[in-house]
Amino acid sequence: MTVKLSLQNVRKTFRSRHADEAFVALDDVTLDVEDGEFMVVVGPSGCGKTTLLDLLAGLTRPTGGQILLDGKPVAGPSLDRGVVFQQYALFPWLTAQGNVEFGLEAKGAPSAERRETARRFLGLVGLAGFESHHPHELSGGMKQRVAIARSLAYDPEVLLMDEPFAALDAQTRETLQCELLRIWRVSGKTIVFITHGIDEAVFLGQRVAVMSSRPGRVERVIDIPPEFKAGEDIRAHPEFGRLRHEIWRLLHEDGERAREDERDARRLAVAA
């Protein structure tokens, strides 16, 4: 296996308006994502997941350490990495169809092909018949699905997805999870998938990176053994429950620690 994406001692700080010293969003994150791997990142809210994704997309630059794509430092965004943003980020002046099409335009596809491909991917996410709707005429979940269709349609080698299924009902989420796994298997894409959901993480990922907060770190990377995923209802498998619990415990301990830190900080603030 070759390494597709490599994060090496990555640090990201933000200048803070509230405090004198910079805010550390990510500290010493080291993680390799193999070519064709499905990597899931879980972590509590505010631990730096979106920050990490922005770095991988090339939208921001690390304060320290480096990020390599195919062994070369990431210099900026590029069409080989597709992003599904946490807040959909559709253009409100374009229809659902138009929002999917302009990604293909960037790739230089001819217009008849663009139209056809966009329709196909909107159908894939269950939005056939909504092609000419504008975003304000769509529900949150539907907008999210348009955003997913947009990044799938232009077929990037690497897909970076920031809680793409968060706004969906359980039924649609399950359908799209299966669809995403299918697309991943046939296309061999490398996927970095961020989620809050532990079930989702175990269900989708080959490996799950569990993050802790303040500062954001990769606490542990858990392998999800491929064997038990072959069965019919993998969520009923005892191994599924065990992995689920392991991740839950890691997140829980981090939550406890964070709450204690907060209490200490408050006590210090009161004392001062």
Binding site: P77, S78, F85, A89, F91, W93, A106, H134
Partner: protein, 259 residues
């Protein structure tokens, strides 16, 4: 144009007429009772008579068209330049830093104060007037376009970066549509300013060329108050019609925003 008038008529609420009609009634009574000097204030029916004569006058419509032509030509030039400079200033911090203070200082000079300079340099014909009208329309368009471009949400900019937009795509696929609501506000204001400037330039340069403003000034010189009032009515009506058309165009272009 016809459709616009029709739709305006359909949406018209008759209650809006109450105040003007009451005013007209008081005015007519004041005239009949000779409360006012009839040379300074003619009767409403007298104004209607004047209006009728004026419409029949062969100079009226050429004057109206001349005004409209200058208005729209000046608006088109000022509007285009306004959008272009607004986009340029919105895009480049460097241009903004270099030009914005100067533009802000220039804004403090009333537009009409430029007229003597413009006529000294460019004379009194159409060209000079159109230049003045264009300058009047330019300002609100440029300022609003600038604000529209600066207000584009970060998420939209990130999408454009992820999709590696070319320069042309940045302008036509992101900036212009995203800033369209503000740009259209600017254009609508620009249209109002252009019309004010059209009539204003004709007032101040009344001895040259023809136009609605000239009509009013000639009425004053002939001490024909009826003609002056009629001129004001036409100026008001044309202005409202232009504004109404602009509003309709805006609603149509911004349908994607929903209700």
């Amino acid at each position: 144009m016809i459709a616009a008038v029709k739709s305006a008529a359909r949406r018209f609420d008759p209650r809006a007429l109450a105040l003007p009609l009451a005013f007209l009634a008081v005015w007519e009574i004041a005239y009949l009772r000779a409360w006012v000097d009839p040379r300074l204030i003619p009767s409403p029916s007298g104004v209607v008579q004047t209006a009728w004569n004026s419409l029949a006058d062969e100079a009226f419509f050429p004057g109206l068209w001349a005004s409209l032509y200058r208005d729209l030509a000046g608006f088109a030039i000022g509007g285009l330049l306004g959008v272009a400079s607004g986009v340029a200033l919105g895009l480049s911090r460097r241009l903004d830093a270099a030009f914005n203070p100067t533009l802000n200082a220039l804004k403090q000079i009333s537009l009409f104060a430029w007229l003597p300079l413009i006529s000294t340099w460019f004379g009194y014909d159409d060209g000079a007037k159109i230049l003045f009208i264009a300058a009047s329309a330019f300002y609100p368009v440029a300022v609003n376009t600038f604000e529209g471009v600066r207000g584009i949400p970060k998420t939209h900019i990130e999408v454009a970066r992820v999709f590696r937009f070319s320069k042309a795509q940045w302008v036509f696929r992101l900036l212009l549509p995203a800033a369209a609501p503000k740009i259209l506000v600017g254009l609508q204001l620009g249209l109002v300013f252009a019309w004010l400037a059209t009539i204003g330039s004709e007032f101040l340069l009344a001895n040259w060329g023809s136009g609605l403003g000239n009509l009013i000034i000639h009425g004053r010189e002939a001490l024909d108050v009826g003609l002056v009032i009629w001129g004001l009515v036409v100026v008001g009506l044309v202005g409202s019609l232009l504004d109404h058309l602009a509003q309709r165009a805006e609603n149509r272009l911004l349908r994607w925003r929903g209700a």
